[in-house]
Symmetry: C2
Subunit: 294 residues, 2 copies
């Protein structure tokens, strides 16, 4: 069975862009980047499906909130300021307008927080509830994955693994009131402010949606460098699991929406350093390219 990466690679090959104003096209970065006059516009599309992406016990407004959050996370990863959002939503048979209103209120709640205008939407009927979001942002300077340089330090806006840990607790029988980090699972915070702050001095950046390992590999590959990780304090996770499991969650779990970036300043949780070569390493061992697959 083909993986998501096979499709992404195929599409990137087919949809190469020829316009000089397109600084990043399909599959190249977290957002497409287009020069519009003196500004840079970023565009991103991301979809969520009931079964693959929404955790159990999720409320309807949280589905709306998350649909915007995952798109804003992509905008944040470019160091851009989000401005506009459009969505399409697939409604199943007999989906009540009350639920749709709650869904919209969830989108609006997060939109207001970051000054985003919801300027369009489309509803259609289908077999499974799903949402596709399209976000537009603007920036003077964008953070591309391909800009890491040997000698850069690597930083993270927050410890990853919390969403997956919480999900596993849910599956083990805990309720949403009992799990460790419910907000990471139900209302993840896109790192918009952090992205804007680091856009002044960071070099490469991406968000962590599938796993930290995958994000690091993407920066390393796009920049033609290696990344050497160093041991990081995982006590936030180790309150709930042993240190081996904590490291597994930190590196390979998805759904946290933190930003990982490189720069030569001191900024955030330092997790490693950019080195010559290729690949991602921790304590001399290869960190695999794997993470959450839908």
């Amino acid at each position: 069975m083909p993986s998501e990466w096979d499709y992404v690679e195929l599409a990137s090959r087919i949809f190469s862009s020829s316009r000089s104003e397109v600084l990043a096209g399909a599959g190249e970065d977290d957002c497409a980047v287009v020069r519009l006059g003196e500004r840079l516009a970023v565009f991103t599309a991301d979809s969520l499906h009931e079964k693959a992406d929404f955790p159990p016990q999720m409320r309807e407004w949280e589905k709306g909130y998350m649909s915007l959050a995952v798109n804003l996370s992509d905008v944040a990863a470019m160091g851009a300021e989000p401005a506009y959002f459009l969505y399409t939503v697939t409604l199943v048979e007999n989906y009540p307008t009350e639920k749709f209103e709650e869904f919209c209120r969830g989108v609006l709640k997060l939109a207001k927080k970051y000054g985003v205008d919801v300027i369009g939407g489309d509803t259609d009927r289908g077999d499974e509830f799903s949402v596709s979001g399209f976000a537009v942002g603007f920036s003077g300077r964008v953070l591309l994955r391909r800009c890491a340089e040997v000698g850069d330090r690597v930083f993270l806006t927050g410890i990853t693994g919390k969403a997956q840990l919480s999900l596993e607790q849910l599956f083990s029988g805990l309720s949403r009131e009992e799990i460790a980090f419910p907000e990471k699972l139900y209302t993840p915070e896109p790192r918009v402010r952090e992205g804007l702050r680091i856009s002044r001095y960071a070099k490469a950046c991406t968000d962590v949606s599938d796993s930290l390992a995958i994000s690091l590999h993407q920066i390393a590959k796009a920049s033609g460098v290696g990344i050497e990780l160093k041991p990081v304090d995982l006590s936030e996770l180790e309150e709930f699991v042993d240190s081996k499991k904590a490291l597994e969650l930190f590196l390979y779990a998805g759904g946290d929406y933190e930003l990982v970036y490189t720069c030569d300043d001191d900024a955030g949780i330092e997790i490693g350093r950019v080195v010559e070569g290729e690949g991602v390493y921790l304590n001399g061992r290869k960190v695999e390219f794997r993470g959450y697959t839908h």
Copy 2:
């Protein structure tokens, strides 16, 4: 069971925009319109689902083509020039990469024709094949639904009803080689060039996706006017059905993606006139607000 219009109205109420640069927001027109410096940008999102929207015997590349076509039709309806396209696609279990490649080639075929750059995409797993598209266009002057004036003449870029006629022929047992207008069903042509041409002199405009009747009602309501239709030559349809059925298809069938617009010049197939009052009339009788429902 709520109709699509209930959801659209609800969302428009919740997502009202406060920014002065947003000239048309959620639910107001075929696209959202945003002033970006000296240009106007238009944004639209539209989704298609296997069961509700793709006709039987459709080829994979035609699904890609149509996903872009329906979005370009919205851009055309604003009199804007399409520039960028992003999509999300829901892939079912075991969807082969060969089919996905064919799908992408279909998007690319139409994109090249109109100079559109496909700059982003996202794939996710789900229960039903579906595509959401997001198109961006630019214009110096946009054609809003609310700009029709009493005395304007009403025009259409082509006779509507052909897609539905062809679909009914398919359901009656004909093959795709035998139906009357296969290209209307499988590879509808977005009226991009016509939209750009009329943008210089037309007043109100919209595309016909759900039905001509619905589009006319939308222009009439948004402009605070009535529309009086006149008899139109429907011989293209009457080759296949009687005149009563031809009129039903012309007014109430969906899926043709023609443009309907008002102006005081002579341009296109004249179908009526803008009058004082409200509603849409033909031969003194009300034309209903109904059309294709998914």
